[in-house]
């Protein structure tokens, strides 16, 4: 039991004071232990007192800190209130100033909108203008101005003014300048051009167009009719005074339509196979006519010279005369029969080919009609396939139809005319043979007899 208490006490002491426990001498007896405990207690209470004092001191210190922090907080809160008040005041002032600004900017903002719009319009106009062919790159600044969000500077406004004024002034001028030109085959060469206001560009007696998309001056692939183009040269060579010139008021629109229209050769090929057949008929007909014209002229000349001489030569009239001379002594009826026979032999040679020309003259419009009908068939086939909605599809077939008609008529007109010409000539020669040959022979006979 004692041992247990001892151990307990010892452990208590050890636990309560680790410092002392380490070097605490071991109790030799109970009294000694008591004494030791007492001493320890005294020491301990001393220690506790010390610690208490220490704690108190610390507590006081903390309280002081707390008070200090509180004071600080209060200070900061006051500061915050002050700043908040200042912020509100500023906010109010800002609102007032903003309002003031809006009022003062008022008219200026409206002007800004107008300026942007004007700059945009002007940029588009300058881009399309023929003046830009001579003075390129003017629209860039205006485009920037139209896009910009900032208020334009006074300098920019002045530039806008200058641009507008320049465009206006240049539009009223006829000016000469050198610029690269894209020719029909795509090559680029330097050319001296004359610009007529904002409407046309001419050079070397030709019209040029300015394409705003590519900023290029292009040679027109096809020029307008000669009457219009013929004035260009005089206009270009003139340096003072006035000279007439055809101007395209649509700024290239009409000239571009000229390019689209097919030329004569393209139209000719629209006729197709029938068109080529008609051309063949035309040339064969013309060849026959030429042959006839030459032959009839030669024979006519021979007959006319035969009229003056009594000795028969180798020509139709001469042959008839030689028949007369061979049968001079036969009786009248017989002679007449022989002469008629001789004339009948000559006539076909003079009439040869003339009927053919007439047939060709009649054939050509018929072939034209054939082409028309085949063209219309083509058109209706197109309508069957694609419907009648697109006039462009139909129009090509119809123009084929019409072109053959034109070719037919164009072939028929000269052939009809030439037919009347050669048939007139051959008829007059046949008249000479049929109605006059006997008379001529009689006159010669009379002269000889007389």
């Amino acid at each position: 039991m004692k041992r247990l208490i001892l151990t307990l006490l010892a452990s208590t002491i050890a636990a309560s004071s680790v410092v002392f426990a380490a070097d605490a001498p071991k109790a030799q007896s109970l009294d000694q232990l008591l004494d030791m405990v007492r001493k320890a207690q005294t020491a301990e209470s001393e220690l506790n007192r010390q610690r208490e004092a220490q704690f108190k001191q610390a507590r006081d210190q903390q309280a002081a800190l707390l008070n200090q922090a509180k004071a600080e907080l209060a200070e900061l809160e006051r500061e915050s209130d002050r700043l908040k008040a200042a912020f509100d005041a500023n906010e109010k002032e800002l609102a007032v100033l903003e309002e003031q600004k809006t009022v003062r900017v008022g008219n200026l903002g409206e002007m800004f909108g107008v300026v942007r719009q004007a700059a945009g319009d002007m940029a588009a106009r300058i881009n399309r203008s023929y003046v830009s062919a001579e003075i390129p790159g003017r629209a860039k600044f205006l485009e920037d101005m139209a896009q910009s969000k900032a208020l334009p500077k006074i300098e920019a406004l002045r530039n806008l003014w200058v641009s507008m004024q320049q465009e206006m002034t240049e539009q009223g001028k006829i000016s000469r300048f050198t610029a690269p030109v894209v020719l029909g085959d795509g090559t680029q060469v330097e050319r001296e051009l004359v610009r007529v206001g904002a409407f046309n560009l001419v050079s070397d007696g030709e019209y040029y167009i300015y394409s705003p998309e590519t900023n290029q001056i292009q040679e027109l692939a096809r020029q307008p009719v000669a009457r219009v183009v013929s004035l260009v040269d005089d206009f270009e060579s003139n340096s003072s005074g006035f000279e007439p010139l055809y101007v395209d008021p649509t700024r290239g629109g009409l000239l571009q339509l000229v390019v689209q229209a097919p030329d004569l050769m393209e139209k000719y090929h629209q006729g197709g196979v029938v068109g080529y057949v008609i051309t063949g008929v035309f040339f064969v007909g013309i060849l026959i006519v030429l042959e006839r014209l030459i032959t009839l002229t030669i024979v006519g000349g021979q007959i006319r010279s035969q009229l003056k001489s009594a000795t028969p030569g180798n020509n139709p009239l001469g042959r008839v005369m030689s028949v007369y001379l061979a049968n001079k002594d036969a009786d009248t009826d017989n002679l007449e029969l022989k002469l008629d026979e001789a004339i009948m032999k000559e006539v076909p040679r003079l009439e040869r080919g003339i009927a053919m020309v007439k047939v060709f003259a009649a054939l050509a419009p018929l072939l034209g009609l054939l082409g028309t009908v085949t063209g219309m068939i083509e058109t209706f086939q197109v309508i069957t396939m694609f419907g009648a909605g697109d006039p462009k599809l139909m129009a090509s077939g119809i123009s084929t139809a019409l072109v053959t008609t034109v070719q037919g008529i164009v072939t028929a007109i000269p052939l009809v005319f030439l037919h009347s010409l050669i048939s007139g000539r051959s008829k007059s020669l046949i008249h000479i043979l049929e109605e006059q040959s006997t008379g001529i022979i009689a006159q010669h006979a009379e002269k000889k007899g007389a």
Partner: protein, 174 residues
Amino acid sequence: MTALTNLWEFVNRFMETGGPVMWIIAFVLFVLWALIIERWLYLQFEYPKEARTLIASWHARQDTSSWQARHIRQAWLSQATERLNTRIVLIKTLVAICPLIGLLGTVWGMINVFEAMSSQGSGNARLMANGISMATMPTMAGMVAAISGLFVAARLEALARNRAEQLADSLPHH
């Protein structure tokens, strides 16, 4: 001078509305009337003289009824008729050609109409109207030219035939 240029400009405009065919019609019309005037002058002034000398030389002949005389008379008549009728066939052909050229112009104009349609669609009536005027003007011009020549040509032909018959009557067999 300005009046003249204005007139020329007017004619040019008129011709342009009808297209190039108008110039062909104008040319044909010019030739036609030149020929008609030539014929009329011949019939009016030249032919009577020729007829008189012919009649005189026939009457101067002693022999007017033999085989020879008969044929000589026929030859003279034939020559006179031929001179009377030269170019009348040509005039008639030109008259006949005029409407044909007009038709050519019509078809040409229609081609322009369809060309305008094929390049611009049928929406643009003004472009098509250009072709239509090109189609109608030559027809009209061709008709007017033909009508103007038709009557005169018929008249000239009848006149020539008349004169030939008169001449045949004036050369009697004695």
